[in-house]
């Protein structure tokens, strides 16, 4: 089974070694420093993270924004596949023209406009992340279509299949392995954008915990939240690849 990058046995051993090094170095040798927190303080700060920084609400807020966006984007892509896979279609062309913004304007800057235009709510965040995710998927889809094996298309045409069937049953299926392969990268990108968005916007989300932790100069909260984000992204990537391996078992190369 394909695994997320950096999850080989060797890498896990290195990670465990770092963990013990952190304990030994910062618990016993350098207990007072500005780089990393003392392990025992991190453990003690978990209560604050839970109560004062409201980890459960903020965690659910960010996780819901990311995973709902990914699911809704993919479903929308699926339902619109017939239009999006058309060669010359106004709707598909309009969406693709937005590619320019994503290529030359960092997504987070577009997020600033969302913060300015829309009220502070979960929906603002969801709409922003959903749009980012959907557009990235459309761009990837369009990028992969010309690379579909022409033999599949020619065989279907000669059997008498119509254009709609070719788009829905051949091209859509043929691009799935590459599309799903791109999802772990998209997932990581969305987390980065979301955390920056929440940091700037304030209010809720893991990004807001980072903002508060920096305000209070709370190194242990910064550290434990980073660990939580890392674990969530790892599990997310792992789940995406699990789903890919389970349902997209073929390769077209």
């Amino acid at each position: 089974m394909e695994k997320p990058a950096g999850t080989s046995k060797k890498n896990i051993y290195i990670l465990i070694a770092y963990f013990f090094l952190w304990i030994i170095l910062f618990e016993y040798i350098l207990p007072v420093n500005r780089f990393l927190p003392k392990p025992s303080i991190v453990i003690l700060s978990l209560k604050d993270l839970w109560n004062f920084y409201r980890l459960p609400q903020n965690f659910l807020y960010s996780v819901a924004a990311i995973y709902l966006s990914l699911i809704v984007s993919y479903l929308l892509l699926y339902f619109l596949r017939n239009i999006l896979l058309l060669k010359n279609h106004l709707f598909a062309d309009i969406i693709l023209s937005l590619h320019w913004f994503f290529k030359y304007v960092p997504a987070i800057i577009l997020g600033l406009f969302f913060i300015y235009w829309l009220p502070q709510s979960f929906y603002t965040e969801f709409i922003f992340i959903f749009l980012t995710s959907f557009l990235m998927m459309v761009i990837k889809l369009k990028e992969k279509v010309p690379k579909v094996n022409k033999e599949f298309i020619e065989a279907a045409i000669s059997l008498g299949a119509g254009e709609k069937i070719i788009r829905e049953k051949i091209i859509w299926k043929a691009v799935q392995p590459d599309l799903l392969k791109f999802f772990p990268d998209l997932h990581f990108f969305l987390w980065s954008v979301l955390l920056a968005f929440e940091y700037i916007k304030g209010g809720f989300g893991l990004g807001n915990i980072f903002r508060m932790a920096l305000q209070y100069k709370d190194l242990s909260i910064l550290f434990s939240t980073t660990a939580i984000v890392g674990i969530v992204i790892y599990l997310g990537s792992f789940s995406i690849l699990y789903i890919k391996n389970k349902f997209i078992h073929w390769s077209t190369t």
Partner: protein, 261 residues
């Protein structure tokens, strides 16, 4: 199943490809061809060197590509779009890797509203017991069998085979040739094969069309007596081979002979 015979006709078919720089490549020139299918299956070969436009010719016959000039007729009706009566099997594997053997054949029923005898087709191509297997990571021969069964599912008049044996192992090639013979004999489907291999053309065909390159042009045809080939008549085989070689020599000179095997 025995059907009425039908006639495939190509009249003055030509093909040009234009490059971005305005460069125009003349691929096919004035192709005239008449293939009459009988009430029993038959095999026709187009023997040509590499780059003669064999694939383009088959794609034009199948309606996948438009010709730059000329017409293709089936039973006196002009073919301007793929109808399923002429099915093209590409050189590279074309079985869909996301569908298993059975689903690949059943794919046809998504746009053809008649009941398919999938089990019969699977049996015909020798894939009984492999219904739920996926083509990915299977041999080229396995994938070809799927493509053939799927092609037969639309009950075509002609199946076009684009140099199918090129990448097969020797044993696989023998098995596939036997399979095609069997299919040909059990149905009224005719096959049109393109090849660069003289022996394949002689061993398999009822008629061989000789094609030259730059631009692709059919300049001669030779009928083959199947009974003599089946009886392993070496002299007859050699005489056909000589006819082919001397035709190429007379038409284009020795250099083309080196390009066909």
């Amino acid at each position: 199943m025995r059907d009425e015979p039908c006639i495939l006709e190509l009249k003055n078919v030509s093909k040009f490809f234009s490059g971005h720089s305005g460069f125009k490549l003349h691929v096919l020139d004035n192709i005239n061809l008449k293939i009459e299918s009988s009430s029993y299956g038959a095999m026709f070969s187009v023997l040509a060197p590499f780059g003669a436009g064999k694939t383009s010719l088959l794609k034009i016959i199948a309606g996948i590509e438009k010709s730059s000039g000329g017409i293709v007729k089936l039973n006196n009706l002009e073919l301007d779009h793929p109808s399923g009566k002429i099915v093209f099997i590409p050189e590279k594997p074309s079985s869909f890797p996301w569908l298993n053997v059975k689903q690949n054949i059943e794919f046809v029923s998504t746009f053809r509203k008649y009941k398919l005898n999938v089990d019969h087709l699977i049996n015909l191509v020798g894939l009984t017991g492999y219904e739920n297997h996926f083509p990915n990571e299977r041999s080229l021969g396995f994938r070809f069998r799927i493509s053939l069964a799927r092609a037969l599912a639309v009950e075509p008049k002609f199946i076009l085979l684009d140099d199918p044996f090129k990448n097969f192992l020797k044993e696989t090639k023998r098995e596939i040739i036997d399979l095609i013979e069997e299919v040909k004999n059990s149905s009224s489907t005719c096959f049109i094969l393109t090849t660069t291999n003289i022996s394949d053309a002689i061993n398999l065909s009822n008629e061989i069309f000789l094609m030259k390159n730059h631009p692709g042009q059919i300049f001669h045809s030779i009928k083959v007596e199947r009974d003599k080939i089946k009886a392993l008549d070496k002299n007859y085989f050699a005489s056909i081979k000589n006819q082919i070689e001397s035709s190429y020599m007379a038409y284009e000179g020795i250099h083309l002979i080196s390009e066909i095997k």
